[in-house]
Subunit: 469 residues, 2 copies
């Protein structure tokens, strides 16, 4: 007998159906037992006369029975299936549940997060979490379809790749086949996407997994995150801003109709204006910060190309230079400011664009440098040694075979979902987030490797040093 989903029952009153799901709750009334049965589509009241008494919460059951209309005064208007109930004929327990270590009703925000992450497979049964994860899938699929319509090609780039000084600490992977050497996990597919422009793909995107061994914050997950990575050829900054604005506006309208964007077209602020007026480059432009449905998108533009290098901004590889890239080292200087590169680098504006939503930077990008000589000048200004420059030779070499002008943007998927949904942390929109200590959800990792594994890889672990922090 074919399975019927709970949400379909209202359409088959009088029919015999087979339902499968979890016991959401149970109420015993002497001979009659009521349970709410939950599946992915919703919940329905199930009535067992002299049956179901043995069931416990979260047991998995298969129930065959007849769909009946409820008497009018017992209709539950809060449930999609509130007008019907299932009268049990037979049932089978597919799997019993022990008592749960965390409750799965409620929003769960008052439960110790370590426990929630340890038992993520239960935490995801929570209505709010299940909804977030399902919405995430809808959002990525909406964006993919939108971009494919706009002639973009989704292209996967390697995860095992090269360490490059892009601004954060790399994760390294020892290479068994090339002993003593290491792959790095990509901080972003930056160079690959630029190479795809050299390859003539013209419009590339991917939901790219990015890796940074940086301490976590509420709006920055430890270890890995996902960005909507995009790159376009033969465009200027305006093309990129318009594409993103149109796409997200349509997405909000279709997938989050209860939300309203407070200003269209989105305000554009220069970095200078933003700093002067709001003392931040990511101002929260909501008119009413207590309105959970207000979305205030804006653009911050005309960033300085360079910032003073700070200790905190761990910039692996940039040495003792005075200038660190504000966005990254591939960002093109403003055409009007090229001559300042020699005279007064701190005054050069970059063709950078930051996407801001409700006070969060939810995406950044730029028009890229496509002239080798300008790229070399930037490498000099940020203090690259000859050796470090060599590491980018493949990119400059690629540029010598006909490179189109290009640029891109990379909205952070986790962060944008967090803000769209008004969640307090990125972890509320990720299925299996890491803990800030780097411990991963559910499984006991990282974990020890065997001697044999390390020997094959040609590495040894060193003495544990005293903890500094």
């Amino acid at each position: 007998m074919k399975r019927t989903l709970v949400a379909q029952t209202a359409k088959v009153v009088g029919e015999k159906v087979r339902l499968c799901g979890w016991v959401d709750s149970k109420r015993d009334h002497g001979k009659v037992t009521f349970i709410d049965l939950r599946d992915r589509s919703g919940k329905i009241q199930v009535v067992g006369v002299g049956k179901l008494g043995e069931l416990g919460s979260e047991d998995v059951v298969e129930i065959i029975g007849k769909v009946k209309e409820r008497p009018e005064k017992l209709v539950n208007p809060k449930m999609v299936t509130g007008k019907v109930e299932l009268e049990v004929e037979e049932y089978k327990i597919l799997s019993k549940s022990d008592e749960l270590p965390i409750p799965v009703e409620g929003d769960g925000l008052d439960i110790d997060e370590k426990l929630r992450i340890k038992y993520r497979y239960l935490d995801l049964r929570r209505e709010r979490m299940a909804k977030n994860i399902r919405l995430r899938s809808k959002v990525t699929q909406f964006i993919r379809n939108y971009l494919c319509e706009e002639d973009f090609v989704e292209i996967e780039t390697p995860i095992l790749t090269k360490t490059t000084p892009e601004g954060a600490r790399d994760f390294l992977v020892p290479a068994r086949l090339q002993r003593g050497k290491f792959y790095a996990l990509p901080q972003s597919p930056q160079q690959y996407k630029q190479l795809l422009m050299v390859a003539g793909m013209e419009r590339y995107f991917q939901f790219a997994r990015c890796f940074r061994d940086e301490d976590a914050r509420a709006d920055r997950a430890y270890g890995e995150f996902t960005q909507l990575d995009m790159e376009l050829s033969f465009v200027d900054q305006e093309d990129i801003l318009q594409l993103i604005e149109k796409m997200f506006t349509k997405m909000v309208k279709e997938l989050l109709p209860e939300k309203k964007i407070s200003q269209s077209p989105w305000p554009r602020l220069t970095h200078k204006e933003a700093m002067e007026k709001y003392r931040t480059d990511k101002p929260d432009l909501r008119k009413d910060k207590n309105d959970p449905n207000e979305l205030a998108f804006s653009w911050t533009l005309d960033f300085p190309l360079f910032v003073k290098q700070s200790e905190e901004d761990y910039f692996h590889g940039s040495g003792k230079a005075k200038f660190a890239p504000s966005h990254h080292m591939f960002t093109a200087p403003h055409p009007e400011d090229i001559s300042l590169l020699d005279k007064d680098p701190m005054k050069v504006r970059g063709l950078q664009h930051d996407l801001v939503l409700n006070g969060f930077e939810v995406g950044g990008g730029s028009i890229r440098i496509h002239q080798a000589e300008i790229q070399k000048k930037v490498f000099d200004l940020i203090g690259f040694s000859e050796k470090q420059k060599e590491e980018f030779e493949h990119l400059l070499k690629a540029f010598s075979y006909g490179v189109p002008p290009h640029g891109g943007i990379a909205p952070g998927l986790d962060r944008i979902l967090m803000v769209l949904l008004g969640e307090p942390s990125l972890r509320e929109v990720m299925a299996f987030p890491n803990l800030t200590s780097g411990k991963i959800a559910i499984m006991d990792a990282p974990s020890k490797a065997t001697e044999e594994q390390l020997k094959e890889l040609g590495i040894k672990t060193t003495e544990k040093r005293k903890k500094k922090d």
Copy 2:
């Protein structure tokens, strides 16, 4: 002035347009210079009277000119734009190209593959490669839309995860925040997808990046590959087979209309039949092996649950046991054969299903064990130590909170594309494949890490041992 794509020119005869792209070829006829301009949409002949002479192959140019109809006898029926040409009014060189190290016309299969991979950004300009990469994007998008329509949710699972003995060698990632410990890159999201079933997601999929430190073969990429990872609750094997068969049949019809599936419904063979009749579990059932457009899909079923463990089948962790899982250790035994688990394990059939296409295994899957006691029995039979079993405790624990019966399948994206397109290797359908030595495309990786990086990670590289191979 807005850019016009080459393929759109035929619709705007008489109009002035701006085209951008690469010089595909050039012919000088005294005062008149002809070039073929190439962009992502196609090629068009451009006529320069006293102009364009300075251009070289693969230069990137922007050309403004008028679209004209060609005289009837000069119409080129091979080009979409063969009825028109562009008469140059003005143009700009956006980027000059040096002489290319590899040609980008032709199928490229006669060029040393190392060179093709080193200059992948040029190799991808090749019409065949660009088409393959674009088709790959169309295929994944078709499948995503199909599965979303079928109520599946796409869910990302971690790349930094735990080492588990799943059959191949892991890549390890030293954990800076937990010195002496390591993450592993997932060989597949096997456990996460099963946990998502415990979580009640019911229908999950993802194009999952998987990592195996195994030697490469023509049909197995070194390092990383992509699989369409799927898992479903409350289904039996028949549901999975039908879903896949319908999906791929529709996909072939829509995206590869020149291909024909030689038999529908797809033949189903038991493992025993296949071995007896074809001496392989992945028989090539094409009627005419010389027909490049024939696709012979089939299913191989009723595999033995266990195989004898071989040395070649590097099975990390299974110790000295006699039995190795034929598919993997989470595959459910056939319900009729449960009692044989104690009496004669090698006779137990597993609820495994392999998808075969033209003699290649392009996907495998199974109904999973969802009863802790059977899972424990399988762990014993494959010789797990108590310590190894402990590593799966989170899964058995999860199963104690109400687990639905579930199963899945994971078609290999790279491999299925290779066979669909009749390409000689997986690398022909990947944008940036690795070399078999583990060296990655374009970039010089793996590469040395700095002392400082290793110190932070708490590891050292050991002496290079003599090469065994």
